[in-house]
């Protein structure tokens, strides 16, 4: 018994901190929401200035359908943009890794894509793609902001492969494809996942900003349209409800990607190490 105390202690400590990881942010949220509710009630702040959490909740349950639909529209744009960012980002990174010349000649233009202000170019993208396909325009705008972190991280990752392992692959006469598949890709995986974590939420922000810039449409109304319309009609609770949905989506996405990287890396990479 006495010999076990150390190990047991450590284990209990580990479990406690795992609990804390979940409980602490929830507790912080509860305290903040409680203070907010109290503030609004105590000072009788009018709804149009700052709705209380309970007002927002009420709005949520009254407008579940409309909010859910708008959320789904935004999600579609975001997922499409993110998927395109992953496919094109990884493909471009593989291309860059295959040739030094390609890499040095194209990389600066990838940076151009990153620093171009979305707000400035969105109207042009609408013109190029056409008014009939605004969903595509939105996805392209969101893609522009989500693309670069995946590209640049994957490029760094592909370059990070161990020298000794490179020698080993050369010694055994590995083909280019084998080197990419069995050496470069696994080396790049942790870097790619770190990029994905950033890109996923950038795609969300991009999807909303794009909708803002392009303006409300009749047939496809996402969360940005809900926010715009509620601003115009001074429906503050609705606007906050939409914002809350954006925040929740961002948090879930972030931890979703986090969980994915943990699952893929836990057996071998430092980021997956528990103790």
């Amino acid at each position: 018994m006495s010999e076990d105390v150390g190990g047991d202690d450590r284990r209990r400590h580990g479990r406690l901190s795992a609990w804390l990881q979940w409980l602490a942010p929830i507790a912080v949220g509860a305290v903040l929401l409680g203070a907010w509710e109290w503030l609004v009630r105590a000072y009788d702040i009018p709804k149009y200035m700052l709705p209380s959490p309970s007002d927002i909740c009420e709005k949520f349950s009254a407008e579940t359908h409309a909010l859910g639909q708008a959320w789904w529209v935004t999600m579609q744009t975001m997922l499409l943009a993110l998927a395109a960012a992953v496919v094109l980002g990884v493909a471009a990174a593989a291309l860059f890794a295959s040739s030094r010349l390609v890499s040095v000649s194209l990389f600066p233009y990838a940076i151009v894509l990153q620093v171009t202000p979305l707000v400035a170019v969105a109207p042009f993208i609408v013109l190029w793609i056409g008014w009939e396909r605004l969903w595509l325009t939105q996805a392209v705008c969101a893609w522009i902001v989500a693309f670069f972190p995946i590209l640049s991280n994957t490029v760094i990752g592909l370059d990070s492969a161990d020298r000794g392992l490179r020698d080993l692959f050369q010694l055994y006469g590995a083909t280019r494809w084998q080197r990419l598949r069995w050496l470069l890709a696994p080396s790049a995986l942790p870097y790619f996942l770190a990029g994905l974590r950033i890109s996923a939420n950038l795609a969300l922000v991009g999807a909303i900003v794009a909708e803002f810039v392009i303006g409300p449409q009749a047939d496809r109304q996402g969360l940005a349209t809900v926010i715009l319309v509620s601003q115009l009609s001074q429906d503050a609770p609705m606007m906050f409800a939409a914002l809350a949905l954006v925040s929740l989506t961002g948090i879930v996405t972030y931890f979703g990607v986090h969980g994915l990287s943990y699952m893929l890396l836990r057996r071998w990479h430092e980021t997956g190490r528990k103790e």
């Binding site: 161990d162 000794g164 392992l165 020698d167 080993l168 692959f169 050369q170 010694l171 055994y172 006469g173 590995a174 084998q178 069995w182 050496l183 696994p186 995986l189 057996r267 071998w268 990479h269």
Partner: protein
Amino acid sequence: MSGTLVELVNVGKRFANGTLALDGFTGTIGASEFVALLGPSGCGKSTVLRLIAGLTSPSHGSVHRAWDGERKAKRRAAPPVGCVFQEPTLMPWASVWNNVYLPRRLQGMCRRDAAGEVDEALARVGLSGFANAFPRELSGGMKMRASIARALVTRPQLLLLDEPFAALDEITRSRLNDDVLALWREHRWSALFITHSVFEAVYLSTRVLVMSPRPGRVVDEIAVDLAEPRMAATRTSSRYVELCGRVSQALERAAADAAEVSHV
């Protein structure tokens, strides 16, 4: 000597940054020989290994390999060389089994066909129970064993070992030395064993090549005629002590000569 596997003739190697690593290096490795390459740090030992493995090419002189002709005829033939680097260089994302399978996988052999060889190689280095472990779950000595298993899996004619045990403690190191010797007695591949330990070089090899400080070349060659099989008792035999003394002297002489040259 029945046949020469590798012959380096008057090899010089200058790197892109101007460093002259080797100058006039001449040496051979014969079939079933266990050659130790001994020299001070930075004298170009690893460069010799990389030249033999074909990972770099000489600036001067020539490197002949017995298998060069065959490989040209059959492009994806297995190079009959196994390499154990100074670090274990295992793929951290792959299990021990998959790490050992790698050389065969790169030759296009499917899992099922390679399974026999992989299992056998793991058994030879005593890692059968760790086939599914990941490298980070292994100790330093076990990683090195996995690295040796990977080098052996293709049944090479020549095993190149670059200070494989330099980072290990004395006990593990001498045990792995005995393991390598046992494998060698059994299979009689040729070996080039790089080390900067005089004792290790004499204990393991049939011939010691002593290198000068950089730019490296072979300054002395000492045949090691210790009784087989070598074991713990070998380390206390008078012949062993005498040979170690001779090799040490050769090494010191090379260092002194180099110092003299640089003073002139």
